[in-house]
């Protein structure tokens, strides 16, 4: 057994640089001759762009260039893309308006990119950007999702009713029949509040052009540098792929928002050639991030759950309206469809499910994947619906769920909404969570709280999600424009040290640690002898990046397969060196041994023989470097139970989270520290959605929550210490490690647990975020006016 192998709580390799201020994020990179870019953004939600008067800043100090949409058009650059096609019920393709790098003729949200000013210093660029005269002719705006259909204002003239697609999944007739014969139907209307991802590192990019090599380089805050390169080459057409290098250095959080290819990185890369190849740096201010990062969630839904006389759920019907914002961002169409509708079975055996989703343009920032992406919306809908249903029919919410779970012996299980769950054991995670949360003792705690004048409530959420995005054949049949495999290379040096090159890219997940543990375990070499290389298209094999909790389940498996190939080659070399048959060579703990003997060669000796092949098999290539691609056969399905206990002060409506217990089945775990840390962070983002966070536009399309003064981020004193357990896992069958993915679970499972606890405490429904004002008003039976 190697130290720091699979299952060890290895301390992170990344931390030394981060705790000493030696991290290297995009804004930390300064190159010789660097110029600075500031984007001029629309102050209007919807307007005709009449003219950009470049002459208005021509004489200002330090200004090197002012570029607008006419320059983009003159150079023939392409538009930003949405990579997932979705078809409507009638078979027609989704209706997508153009998404230009810089506005062409019209601006469509506050923050829309109009022009870029490049100057010698940041202050000069900013001064000129503020001075640039832009003439707009304001238009009425369609802001609220509820108003999009039938609005006289079209965000894109060619998209009727602002309706991008009207998608469906499931068996409508079967659901209609089951609803008609149900003993009871529970109905719910809810809003999934709009959120701003808020990675602590704002987006940034530095473009440069080397005329000697005819090569562009783009440093960018990216979760997927290869996808950036692909889109910037094949679709934007800044340069052919082999003439564009994309580097994501250390990335300070992403949560989805740094998957997408935005106009800013494209513009600074293209623009660098226009200022003599000088590096052009752009760094978003936080208020700019609020306006222009892709937002998350923003659904309005109606759902109905049919239940028979014994308490079995017989059908689920869901209608959802999804806000896409002013343009379709890279992944936007798949979030309210393939990552949402397909998860509506939850952990339950409901035989008939139907959902339809209408996606709309509005004059707001684009909406795309944010931690969980579709799955939090599905989980919130289902788990608040089940809680309400249990109360309506007079059953304990935990027992009602248990009664309707897909039983442990029913896997693999085909859901009525396309997915096949490979493994699961939902009763075990439920039981463990109830035990940890002392569910049985809740009544006594509630009574004690009542004596103090407080309302105490308990809420459960049994979530499921689909991770390991994505099996290419499955997502291809659903409409993905690409396959979402992953790749890796593992390379020994002469001296037995190892470089691991992966197409995934960490933005806080600790890949340098987890992948080192995996390789140390597989190859039987010291953890310290392994270096993980990622984030640079010139140094790593082509890969799809990090999102959808895919890096280990998909990228890690490509690394594992590379290691298997190295071991297979090592056996041939060892057999030669030991004068034995290859079939007799066993590999364990870094040693190649002739079975049943003590004759052995260490990995280091075999590696050295491969690089100094004086005594070597005649038909074998020298070297010890192998690569592999992995396209998973299926998604992975993490699931678990979260239990939240709250106290509500009836005088003020203030909610305090007393306890939050999370029991997750992530399959096998490589590093429990890292996995638990992912859950802690996800829980807090989920609590943020449930209690604090909401992106609010006013009627004119101005973002009211545009800074940390107005948008309530969870702070340390808003959350408790958590009780997190990842025991009792069922090993995933879609990869050799048995892992599932843990990055999003916390944000998926916690909002319904928190809201169910509040509803349990106060006895009436309350929408997210459950602010003191909303909770207090709900308790008084008051409807709040527009906030």
């Amino acid at each position: 057994m190697v130290a720091n192998g699979i299952g060890a709580r290895a301390l992170r390799k990344e931390d030394q640089r981060f705790i000493t201020g030696k991290g290297r994020y995009t804004d930390d990179i300064n190159q010789h001759g660097q110029a600075f870019a500031v984007f001029v953004r629309s102050p209007h939600a919807h307007a005709k762009l009449v003219a950009v008067d470049k002459a208005s800043v021509a004489g200002m100090p330090g200004v090197l260039a002012v570029l607008d949409g006419t320059d983009v058009a003159a150079d023939g650059l392409g538009n930003l893309i949405c990579g997932w096609l979705v078809k409507s019920k009638d078979g027609s393709p989704m209706k997508m308006g153009a998404h230009p790098l810089l506005a062409q003729g019209k601006v469509r949200y506050v923050g829309d990119r109009v022009a870029v000013v490049i100057a010698e210093t940041y202050a000069q660029a900013r001064d000129a950007a503020e001075a640039l005269a832009v003439d707009y002719a304001e238009l009425p705006a369609t802001v609220a999702l509820a108003d999009a259909h039938g609005s006289s204002t079209l965000v894109h003239d060619e998209v009727e009713n602002n309706l991008i697609f009207d998608w469906e999944l499931g068996d409508k007739a079967a659901v209609d029949a089951a609803m008609a014969s149900a003993a009871h139907v529970t109905r719910i209307d809810l809003v999934n509040n709009r959120l701003v991802p808020n990675a602590m590192e704002p987006r940034a990019a530095i473009g440069s052009y080397d005329s000697g090599l005819d090569q562009f380089t783009c440093y960018v805050t990216s979760q997927n540098p290869h996808v950036h390169r692909l889109v910037m080459s094949a679709f934007i057409q800044i340069a052919p792929e082999h003439k564009l290098r994309v580097i994501g250095p250390d990335v300070g959080g992403g949560f989805g928002s740094k998957i997408f290819i935005y106009g800013e990185e494209c513009v600074v890369t293209w623009a660098s050639k226009k200022v003599g190849g000088r590096p052009v740096k752009w760094v978003a201010e936080r208020s700019e991030s609020f306006l222009s990062d892709a937002h998350g969630r923003d659904h309005i839904s109606h759902a109905e759950l049919a239940i028979d006389a014994e308490g079995n759920t017989t059908a689920l019907r869901v209608n959802t309206k999804a806000n896409i914002g002013a343009y379709m961002s890279t992944f936007s169409s798949c979030v309210p469809t393939y990552l949402y509708g397909t998860l509506l079975a939850g952990q339950y055996k409901t035989p008939a499910i139907y959902c339809d989703v209408q996606a709309y343009y509005t004059n707001t920032a684009p909406v795309d994947a944010y931690r969980g992406a579709g799955r939090p919306e599905a989980s919130f809908l289902l788990e608040t619906l089940y809680e309400q249903a249990a109360k309506e029919i007079g059953k304990d919410p935990a027992e009602f769920r248990r009664q309707n779970f897909i039983p442990k012996d029913a896997f693999p299980y085909q859901t009525p909404v396309a997915l096949i769950y490979d493994v699961g054991d939902y009763a075990t995670t439920l039981d463990r969570a109830l035990e940890l949360a002392d569910y049985a003792g809740f009544k006594a705690r509630k009574a004690e709280a009542e004596k103090r004048g407080m309302r105490r409530g308990i809420g459960i959420s049994c979530y499921i999600e689909a991770c390991g995005i994505a099996p290419s054949a499955v997502v291809g049949s659903l409409g993905a424009g690409v396959g979402l495999w992953e790749s890796a290379k593992v390379r020994f040096s002469h001296t037995g040290k190892v470089q691991v090159m992966t197409g995934t890219h960490s933005h806080g997940q600790g890949h340098e640690t987890t992948f080192s543990q995996l390789v140390a375990d597989k190859l039987g070499i010291p953890y310290e002898d392994i270096e993980v290389i990622h984030g640079d298209t010139e140094k790593t094999p082509v890969g799809m990046g990090t999102y959808g909790s895919r890096s280990l389940a998909v990228g890690g498996e490509a690394i594992a397969k590379s290691c298997d190939k190295l071991i297979a080659k090592g056996k041939k070399i060892a057999a030669h060196l030991l004068e034995a048959s290859e079939a007799d060579i066993e590999f364990k703990d870094g040693q190649f041994t002739v079975a049943g003997t003590d004759r052995a060669k260490a990995m280091g000796e075999v590696v050295f023989a491969a690089y100094v092949p004086h005594n070597y098999p005649a038909d074998l290539e020298p070297g010890m470097e192998e690569g592999a691609f992995f396209d998973p056969p299926n998604f992975t399905f993490p699931a678990g139970t979260y239990v939240c206990e709250v106290e509500v002060d009836p005088e003020t409506g203030v909610v305090r989270i007393e306890r939050l217990v999370a029991v997750d089945d992530f399959g096998n775990v490589i590093n429990p520290n890292i996995v638990e840390g992912q859950v802690h962070g996800g829980l807090t983002q989920g609590i943020g959605q449930a209690l604090l966070e909401s992106a609010i536009y006013d009627g004119a399309g101005q973002l009211l929550t545009g800074s940390y003064m107005d948008y309530a981020m969870p702070r340390a004193d808003d959350v408790p210490s958590f009780e997190v357990e990842t025991a009792a896992g069922t090993a995933c069958t879609s990869n050799s490690m048995g892992v599932k993915g843990c990055g999003e679970a916390g944000a998926i499972g916690s909002p319904p647990a928190v809201i169910n606890a509040i509803i349990d405490a106060i006895g009436v429904r309350v929408e997210m975020p459950a602010t003191p004002q909303r909770v207090w008003a709900a308790m008084q039976g008051l409807a709040l006016a527009a906030e």
Partner: protein, 163 residues
């Protein structure tokens, strides 16, 4: 332009700045001390916390000229000259108190100041103190754990071992 001089991480440093130059920009742009980060524009996030004359300050909230003549410590100057980590740095690593690392320098500098004033804080006091530092990755759980462990270790107690 105005000339400013200050003692940064024990070394005398000076530079020419505009009146509007923030301390954080002077540190990052003029001196290349990029460990101090900028995460917002409203002095809320705390990614830029440094020590000025021994007290934690948001370096985005102070002009460089205001720090003229001061003693400034940044994250780069926290460890000992031989590289030995400050107990708070060590505890953040030991207890997985960081993920993406972007808020980390500010968190650590803020926590060091807390422990200068309160050697034995309760969990509640730690959470209240961190009101001015936002982390989006860790959910604060392991940051709080790390700070409590650092406090114990600095008091001479045995640091909590990793679980």
């Amino acid at each position: 332009m105005t000339k400013v001089s200050m003692t940064i991480n024990g070394k005398e440093m000076s530079g020419e700045v505009e009146g509007r130059t923030l301390l954080v920009d002077f540190l990052r742009q003029n001196l290349g001390l990029t460990g101090t980060h900028v995460g917002c524009d409203t002095s809320q996030c705390g990614c830029c916390v440094v020590h000025v004359d021994g007290r934690s300050v948001k370096a985005c909230t102070m002009l460089a000229v205001q720090a003229n003549g001061s003693k400034v410590t940044t994250i780069e100057g926290l460890a000992a000259a031989d590289g030995a980590l400050h107990p708070v740095q060590a505890a953040f690593r030991e207890h997985h108190g960081l993920q993406c690392g972007f808020c980390t320098p500010g968190m650590i500098m803020s926590a060091v100041d807390l422990l200068q004033h309160n050697a034995n804080p309760t969990e509640h006091e730690v959470r209240e103190w961190l009101e001015g530092n936002i982390c989006r990755c860790t959910g604060y759980h392991n940051i709080v754990k790390a700070i409590l462990a650092a406090a114990e270790s600095m008091r001479g107690g045995v640091a909590h071992a990793a679980e």
